[in-house]
């Protein structure tokens, strides 16, 4: 049986989340009968107020908005899921607000942010935000998660995966499995912001022999990139043809694996393949996909901790904070070969 949440307490006591919070935070001006009812409900359900929920002091709505551009990509969906679960774990309610495509996103984002203090207590912005957050002071209860891209201006707190580390892990892993001539497919997220990937490859004695930049990071694009990859495989540069493929996302890598299989190209024998995201699907592909896990649960936890500090006003008001969440290499069959039976 799942443990009770603040919402359960509110429902049992017949009050709002706000009232439960006021009772828990010992705020004045709540009728004694109501206080009694809430305390009784807490006792009956065995609810333990989460320390950080108290710190969040969401005496107003107990709702956090989560602004997302889209749910179509498994990596984005996984992050939303993790954030919503973490919000629930802290006894609060998540309102996921879709913000639409590039044209609508800025105005929709501004509308969501404008609801802070009224309909919601804080906003978590997932993905790029353009200049929609420009006027916000650093102490705002707004946190950007995986803001991505280049030329970013983040006036508020941010949480990001350490993609520079991801690049280093991949480059080093390539060297470990004896490959030095990768094709880069859709690696813009690893090559932007100082091009950590190329520096890491260089340090590992490797170098990209070709680059393919698909229009989108979807399986279809990965599938269609196979011609460029095979051309590089058969290529005759000074060091010989490609022997590896690094993909900027697992989705692209999974599409590519399907295409390579269809063309009879053996992975990892002819080409090793690796992606980034750590999608669960990658455990089940043929071969299973080596990847860099971005741990959405850690991202969610870090983001909620930042929000808690902002609501409690325990963080420095003048500067936004930057949190970099570590990543982890997950070695699977697409680079190391089949598991011996």
């Amino acid at each position: 049986m799942p443990s009770a949440t603040m919402r359960d307490v509110a429902a049992l006591a017949g009050v709002s989340l706000k009232t439960v919070s006021r009772v828990v935070n010992l705020e004045p001006h709540t009728r004694p009968e109501v206080v009694q009812r809430v305390r009784q409900a807490i006792a009956e359900l065995g609810w333990v107020p989460n320390g950080s929920a108290r710190a969040l002091r969401t005496g107003r709505t107990g709702v956090l908005a989560v602004a997302v551009p889209d749910l179509g990509r498994p990596a984005d969906a996984a992050l939303v899921q993790a954030v919503v679960e973490e919000v629930g774990r802290r006894g609060l309610q998540a309102a996921v607000e879709p913000t639409g495509g590039p044209e609508q996103r800025p105005s929709r984002l501004r509308a969501v942010v404008a609801s802070v203090g009224a309909a919601v207590d804080a906003v978590l912005v997932l993905g790029p935000h353009g200049d929609a957050l420009a006027p916000l002071p650093p102490a705002s209860p707004v946190v950007v998660v995986q803001g991505g891209g280049t030329d970013r201006v983040d006036p508020v707190d941010t949480v990001d995966s350490d993609l520079a580390e991801a690049s280093a892990l991949l480059a080093h892993h390539l060297a470990v499995v004896g490959r030095r001539r990768p094709v880069l497919v859709g690696c813009a997220r690893l090559t932007s912001r100082g091009d950590a990937l190329r520096a890491a490859l260089d340090a590992a004695g490797a170098g990209a022999v070709a680059e393919v930049e698909p229009r989108a990071q979807r399986r279809e694009e990965g599938f269609d990139a196979v011609d460029g990859v095979l051309a590089a495989l058969r290529g005759s540069g000074p060091a010989g043809g490609a022997d590896a493929v690094l993909c900027g996302s697992d989705e692209v890598a999974l599409g590519l694996l399907a295409a390579l299989d269809a063309r009879g190209v053996a992975v990892p024998d002819a080409l090793v393949v690796a992606g980034v995201d750590g999608l669960e699907e990658g455990s089940f592909s043929a071969p299973s996909l080596t990847t860099v896990a971005l741990a959405p649960e850690h991202l969610a936890r870090a983001a909620l901790d930042l929000v808690a500090d902002r609501l409690a006003r325990t963080a420095p008001a003048q500067e936004p904070r930057r949190v970099l969440v570590p990543v982890q290499l997950v070695r699977r069959e697409s680079t190391t070969g089949p598991v011996p039976r």
Binding site: R7, A10, A77, V96, E97, A114, G255, A286
Partner: protein
């Protein structure tokens, strides 16, 4: 109202007024911060709001009969691609009708009921829910008169509006397809539900195809996973199936997520797909096209389901009254390499 007991409902402005001993208009004035109300009365109204748990409507909703043009979309999870794409499509279809959306991920029955009754969906004009934890019939009963709800998918009948997936038709088609490609020992990888022969329409479609072909329903060919929304569950149940030593030449899976796990299990245990064992799924998720081999599945015409749901909800939000309606959509077999004839 006599029995059954009145289900709990979201507190209304009138409840606040009654408890505070004032008119609805006075409550409005206090909540809107208007003048002409004594401090004592304001205090009474604020206490009443707390006591009844009234969710003050925010951002864009007027306290009179004005609408917010906002709809809540409720799904049980996003890690199952079926629900992520369903949520996406609903959001886009609603936007095309001029409605903004707010999404709720309902992790259990309590959360589903809370979303449908308005407790966690204050300030919306309607709710579209894809039920999983709560029986469709109960969820229909918990809907409130002031908040239209449309259910998409799910099993059973409901007093309210719902869209029914063409599960029977789809499962019948895919099972017939396996028979036509020469398979005779068709295992099923299903959810547990505690019963040997599930009552759902999808399973009924499979049964019918087998009966038509004169094939027996062999209990040894039925295997259940712990959670059909997880690929690893399909994997684990297939390992069990193979260990049992039962002879099989196909596995018909309750959905694509399960089928992906099944494919992996067969591969790691040396069974070739489709040569030794054919595999089929259901849902036609984006993942299904790019498995190795590509997965035969059933497209439940999610776009049609979404269109029907949004249409019915908009009609309700525009004031349509009357009994609940049920719209059944079709299904299309998508044949791919995983079930190719031997």
């Amino acid at each position: 109202m006599s029995d059954p007991p009145h289900p709990p409902r979201a507190a209304t402005l009138d409840d606040v007024a009654r408890v505070a001993g004032v008119s609805g208009k006075t409550v409005s004035n206090v909540l809107l911060g208007r003048g002409g109300v004594s401090e004592a009365t304001r205090a009474r109204v604020r206490e009443a709001v707390e006591q009844v748990g009234y969710q003050v409507q925010h951002a864009g909703r007027s306290l009179s009969s004005g609408r917010s043009r906002r709809v809540a979309v409720v799904v049980p999870m996003l890690y199952q691609p079926y629900f992520a794409t369903l949520a996406e499509r609903l959001i886009l279809a609603l936007a095309a009708r001029g409605y903004s959306s707010t999404l709720r991920i309902a992790a259990d029955a309590a959360a589903e009921v809370a979303a449908v009754s308005g407790a966690t969906t204050a300030g919306v004009d309607g709710v579209v829910v894809a039920p999983l934890w709560t029986p469709v019939e109960e969820l229909g009963r918990r809907a409130q008169p002031h908040l239209p709800v449309v259910q998409v998918g799910g099993v059973g009948t409901s007093p309210g509006d719902r869209v029914v997936m063409g599960e029977h038709e789809g499962a019948l088609a895919v099972a017939r397809h396996l028979v036509e490609t020469g398979r005779r020992r068709i295992a099923v990888s299903w959810y547990s539900g505690g019963v040997r022969h599930p009552a759902d329409e999808r399973y009924a479609g499979y049964r019918r195809a087998l009966l038509e072909a004169g094939l027996p329903l062999d209990d040894a060919l039925f295997v259940a996973g712990t959670d059909t929304n997880r690929r690893r569950s399909g994997y684990a149940s297939t390992v069990a199936l193979l260990r049992s030593g039962v002879e099989l030449d196909a596995v018909l899976c309750v959905n694509d997520a399960t089928a992906v796990g099944v494919l992996r299990a067969l591969r790691t245990h040396g069974r070739r797909v489709p040569d030794d064992v054919a595999v089929t799924g259901f849902d036609d998720t984006p993942e299904a096209r790019f498995t190795t081999p590509a997965l035969t599945s059933v497209d439940p015409r999610q776009a049609d389901m979404v269109a029907a749901a949004v249409q019915m909800l908009c009609e309700r939000m525009d004031g349509l009254e009357g009994p609940g309606r049920s719209v059944r959509t079709g299904a299309d077999l998508r044949v791919r390499a995983s079930s190719a004839p031997r």
